[in-house]
């Protein structure tokens, strides 16, 4: 069974990447050749240097598409807790201390408690999940996450019948997250899912990417990934999980209710009030490509929303 190795080992002692990475390498090289003129940042130092390798096995639902360059995945982020520009998180997130970490579990479940990260990860088999990520701003990436189904985590807390929604909260600590000193958003960041969305096999908790432990700017030490929803639903650096009877008021929804809904399913048919959602720029490509309903995962998830007016419930 795969184990999460916490990056406590000095980087010098970390063994070279696991063999399984070779397959990824091969794909990367292919992508890199095409994108080289666009993404010379790929020549820069290894953005994952110092992050422990993870052992994982291939999981289901892999997107069979060229992976987005590591430099872009780790250097082009929206994580307002570290600043509002795309390069701020990579520059500023070194102040986050992902270890030790604990998560408070509360609400309608049989086992509410404060769990350490080690507790949460115990016995979780790590899987590779290559997912498309579509940002509400109109760009997208293909990211090889390492993680496990959210359902296998939530199941342990034994949610009760009253658990209709799951609410996640990001760390609030302006010392570690300097972006929180400005109230660009109502802190702390809160996101939520309907219970059936949370238990869906596509929904994962990611603890790594590209075979290594998550870099801070990508939401270390654990984050949500819901690939059929706009990126802002995939909340980072989670410290609290709550089972609730009613839907939470999520952060972007609170900040601009007419622009960001609770569902936030990727939907080319419903524009953002200020820009189109019909097309997206895949990072690394020059022209825009068509955005797919549910980010291309319609077959797996469209049934969750039968009878729901997706125009009104955007």
């Amino acid at each position: 069974m795969a184990r999460l190795h916490l990056p406590l080992i000095p980087s010098g002692e970390i063994t070279p990447e696991p063999v399984y990475l070779n397959r990824r390498r091969f794909m990367q090289v292919g992508t890199a050749a095409v994108l080289a003129p666009l993404l010379p940042s790929a020549q820069a130092a290894d953005p994952l240097a110092g992050l422990a390798p993870l052992s994982s096995r291939p999981g289901p639902f892999g997107a069979n598409e060229p992976l987005t360059d590591i430099a872009a995945v780790t250097g082009y982020n929206n994580f307002y807790e570290f600043g509002t520009s795309k390069t701020d998180p990579a520059e500023n997130a070194h102040t986050l201390r992902p270890h030790p970490w604990s998560v408070t579990v509360t609400g309608a479940c049989a086992k509410p408690a404060n769990y350490t990260l080690e507790d949460l990860l115990k016995g979780q088999a790590l899987e590779d999940r290559v997912y498309r990520l579509r940002c509400v701003e109109g760009w997208s990436m293909v990211i090889p996450w390492v993680g496990f189904p959210l359902s296998s985590l939530l199941g342990r807390f034994q949610p009760t019948r009253n658990a209709k929604y799951v609410t996640f909260t990001t760390l609030y600590d302006p010392e570690q997250m300097p972006g929180q000193r400005r109230s660009v958003l109502p802190w702390p960041y809160v996101e939520g899912l309907r219970m059936d969305e949370a238990m869906h096999p596509l929904t994962i908790i990611a603890v790594g990417l590209y075979g290594r432990v998550l870099p801070n700017q990508n939401g270390a030490p654990l984050r949500l990934v819901v690939p059929w929803k706009y990126g802002f639903k995939s909340i980072k650096s989670i410290v609290r999980i709550s089972f609730d009877e009613t839907a939470p008021t999520t952060t972007w929804n609170r900040a601009a209710p007419k622009e960001y809904g609770f569902y936030a399913n990727v939907n080319p048919a419903v524009d953002h009030p200020r820009w189109s959602q019909k097309r997206e720029r895949r990072i690394g490509e020059l022209f825009r490509r068509d955005t797919l309903p549910f980010n291309g995962y319609a077959e797996a998830v469209a049934s969750l929303y039968q009878g729901l007016d997706l125009k009104r419930n955007f």
């Binding site: 003129p37 010379p40 872009a72 760009w139 660009v184 200020r274 189109s276 690394g284 022209f287 825009r288």
Partner: protein, 202 residues
């Protein structure tokens, strides 16, 4: 220094942001989304140059220097070119040169529409920026060129509409624009000095 050399020197400076951006594109230092970087660079420089253009008359009034007025038209024209470049990047890379899609995007989204309107207002100003047109239009030239005020206001609002949550930058530009417009309210200095090339008292 002869006037033509002076003008060439000013153009040399005005082209630097474009040059810088193109070199960045070549070297790949514009980040993972170079198209967005191009949109931002062209848009922000168009706006900066518009504000700079508007700053020249107050600067002349405060300092008594003449040179701000001699470069004013160049600044305004450069603002137009940067905005044109911005539209070009939008049409080619954002809209894949699909005119129907571009048109839909412009009319369906207020933010883009405002930018388009700002550029449309600048177009006649750019066309009539030559000495020949100044002579031909006479006092109407100045009247026509007051369109820069609404154009700058629309451009600043357009900028504000593009931002997701962090309004700091647009607010700074908006504040500078407000100052530049407010100082025009009292007629502190003679209107005649505002006309480039020659003086008319209207």
């Amino acid at each position: 220094m002869p006037a033509s050399l002076w003008r060439i020197g000013v153009w040399g400076l005005l082209i630097l942001p474009a040059l810088w951006t193109i070199i960045g594109l070549q070297r790949g230092s514009l980040g993972p989304d170079p198209v967005e970087a191009l949109m931002i660079a062209s848009g922000i420089w168009a706006l900066r140059l518009l504000l700079l253009t508007l700053a020249m008359t107050p600067l002349q009034g405060l300092s008594g220097w003449v040179w701000p007025l001699t470069i004013r038209r160049q600044l305004g024209l450069a603002a137009f070119f940067y905005a044109l470049g911005h539209l070009l990047v939008f049409a080619v890379f954002d809209q894949n040169l699909d005119p129907a899609a571009a048109w839909r995007e412009i009319v369906e989204h207020k933010a883009v529409w405002l930018g388009m309107l700002a550029l449309a207002l600048l177009l006649p100003l750019a066309i009539t920026s030559t000495r020949g047109w100044i002579r031909r239009l006479g006092p109407n030239w100045k009247r026509l060129h007051r369109l820069i005020y609404p154009a700058a206001i629309l451009a600043a609002i357009h900028f504000g509409f593009q931002v997701k949550a962090d309004l700091r930058e647009p607010l700074i530009y908006g504040a500078i624009l407000t100052v530049l417009l407010v100082v025009r309210l009292p007629r502190g200095w003679q209107r005649g000095s505002r006309t480039p090339g020659h003086t008319t008292i209207s």
